[in-house]
Subunit: 352 residues, 2 copies
DNA sequence: GGTTCCTCCTTAATCAATTAAGACCTTAAT
DNA sequence: ATTAAGGTCTTAATTGATTAAGGAGGAACC
């Protein structure tokens, strides 16, 4: 029907130049009060929607948005308390800078580099990208300020995360100090192939998610330093970070003979599932079995020993870095973690 | 340092027209393989970031993003399972259409209409907006396809939600059928003023959040139909949808004399807090006290009777409507809810 | 009376692309 | 030989704004 209303439409109708109309919206001091009122009145009559944001962005050279790249579909990402915590932190920074947060999903399987190529943003935050993902190149090609969170760490590119190796080591030393020698691992998110089952050393080392791979490596190194024969430690891997997956892993581990006295998990959600499996098997935690999580997301209510990862702080720091106006430092920024000892770990039961 | 690299830079360097370079990126069939290879090579050498998305958006007239307006800060919104479920649904639709999701926070207190004015999006989804919020005008001024979710319903504008009045009525009839006559209400999100305390009838009726107001009205109407003297029903309101708030409300309600035998909550998170308060007071649920939630978010694990609100479906439907290319129907779309009876409600205890 | 200053508005360049239509050349068909 | 048809590239209009620089006119000052 009616053709598009632009600044020019209004200018023609009022009988002034386009520039004047622009000033009426953005710089009231540049024209008389009377003319400005007339322009705004006509704009209202014509149903003008205000200066077109896309055209504005083009002219001003800023998009007013921060791009967040998830490699999971959102339904999955938002099922994870860790992701949500991170997102909350990022959102704080976005709000401070009065920019929007453009969420870009790179669903696993289908490659959609055009989503990254076409994103109208001023900066990118890349969240937990597996090794060799095509998105890496697509993002770097945009040559915008970019920060990688948790994984991967690419030397020379800005990165924020925790010291996964040290954190995992603390977990192992904690249970070893409590006398545990028969450990079991319940791990999620090592590979993209969706496999559930036992993961041998080769599979542990070839994990595609760097943070998880490092975490596992940290368990191993600390375990071997404490004299644990790592080749004999059962490792059960699952694909989705869900309580039900943790239960499955817990069942498998608890069915082993000898049964582990401590099960280490690489997320809290997994640990909750392991607790379920322990309850099913009639095992008391921590008397019969110690369980450790990772991330401190929802772990408090379950009285779970875990590593506290400053998820909000990570998000906020990433956001502030990107929105400060300065190019982000191309360095590896390590934020502090903390072992939180709660009621899910105790001295190992005496060998029966 | 080096000035910006655009299509023109490459065109000049290769010695062709800008159009040719554009075709090299977007329509390979429009030029010879050999020239295209040369153009791409030069583009690579110059560090060209690919066709500028903003310019592209302007020319093509599409932004490639769906704007989601939250009136809470994200940290708060993401603390609520209902919001997350809705977001998941919306994200499914966004992924289907291969567009991004631009999250626009309109924090309470500060008015930031410019965030809405400057958002580079093709459509808006407005989530749970309180009455009289300035964002309403800012969004309508953009004249983009827009859907309102949950509240407010503005006749003539597209809306998606459930039949709050009927749902609340079902809750009341459920407990009344179980013999309860002494009800108590623990409500969150009626007003923006942050008050915690008893809410009289006037305050109930003046709630600024339409969905919550309607929900309360539904409780009242069904209660009075069942012969409950509504003026004597204690209503405790809190500001933040947190378990701790629910606990506070629960404590207050359970300290009343006579003590309610059934407490109705307008969110599940509140109900969880009421369960905490009941446990503190040494009351058994459901023997001594029946508790009902709302939304079915995290209610299953707590074995909570609640209303199931199809949150994912609401999000998905909203997203599909907006991204279908057709203008959304300016109608009130009511999706089905369901009363889920679980173990938190039982027959009223005999008067002691 | 001339200069200066201020207010109010216009001119025109600029941001970085897309794409229909047309030009030019080569090859094939009649 | 003439026409037609492709293939390859260019021309130029278009998308909707922002803003530095400049001009016209009137008031104030010396």
């Amino acid at each position: 029907m009616a053709e598009r209303v632009t600044l020019q439409t209004i200018a023609d109708r009022v009988g002034v130049s386009r520039a004047t109309v622009s000033y009426a919206f953005s710089r009231p001091d540049q024209l008389s009060e009377e003319l400005r009122a007339r322009i705004l009145r006509v704009a209202g009559e014509l149903g003008y929607a205000g200066p077109n944001p896309t055209a504005r962005s083009l002219r001003l050279g800023r998009a007013g948005a921060l791009g967040l790249i998830f490699t999971e579909t959102l339904p999955y990402a938002f099922a994870d308390p860790y992701s949500i915590g991170f997102l909350q932190g990022l959102a704080v920074a976005a709000e401070e800078a009065a920019v929007g947060l453009l969420i870009l999903q790179q669903p696993p399987g289908v490659q959609r580099p055009e989503i990254v190529r076409n994103a109208v943003v001023d900066a990118f935050c890349v969240f937990s990208l597996p090794d060799g993902h095509a998105t890496l190149d697509a993002v770097l090609a945009r040559r915008l300020p970019t920060v990688f969170v948790d994984e991967p760490y690419v030397p020379g590119l800005p990165f924020i995360g925790i010291d996964e190796l040290a954190a995992a080591g603390e977990v192992v030393r904690h249970v070893v100090d409590l006398g545990h020698r028969r450990l079991g691992l319940a791990l999620v998110g090592l590979h993209q192939d969706g496999r559930h089952g036992w993961a041998d050393l080769r599979r542990q080392r070839s994990a595609e998610y760097e943070a998880m791979r490092t975490r596992v490596e940290g368990y191993r190194v600390a375990g071997e330093q404490a004299g644990v024969d790592w080749a004999s430690v059962p490792v059960y891997e699952v694909a989705g970070n869900a309580r039900e997956s943790g239960r499955e892993a817990g069942r498998a581990l608890l069915a082993r003979d000898p049964r582990p006295t401590a099960i280490l998990c690489n997320t809290d959600v997994m640990a909750l599932g392991v607790l379920d499996a322990a309850a099913e098997a009639g095992l008391k935690v921590p008397e019969d079995l110690s369980v450790v999580g990772f991330s401190d997301s929802g772990a408090e209510e379950a009285d779970l020993t875990t590593i506290r990862q400053p998820k909000q702080l990570i998000g906020q720091t990433a956001g502030r870095m990107l929105l400060s106006g300065l190019p982000p430092e191309p360095e590896r920024l390590i934020l502090p973690h903390e072992l939180i000892v709660r009621g899910s770990t105790a001295r190992a039961p005496l060998p029966s």
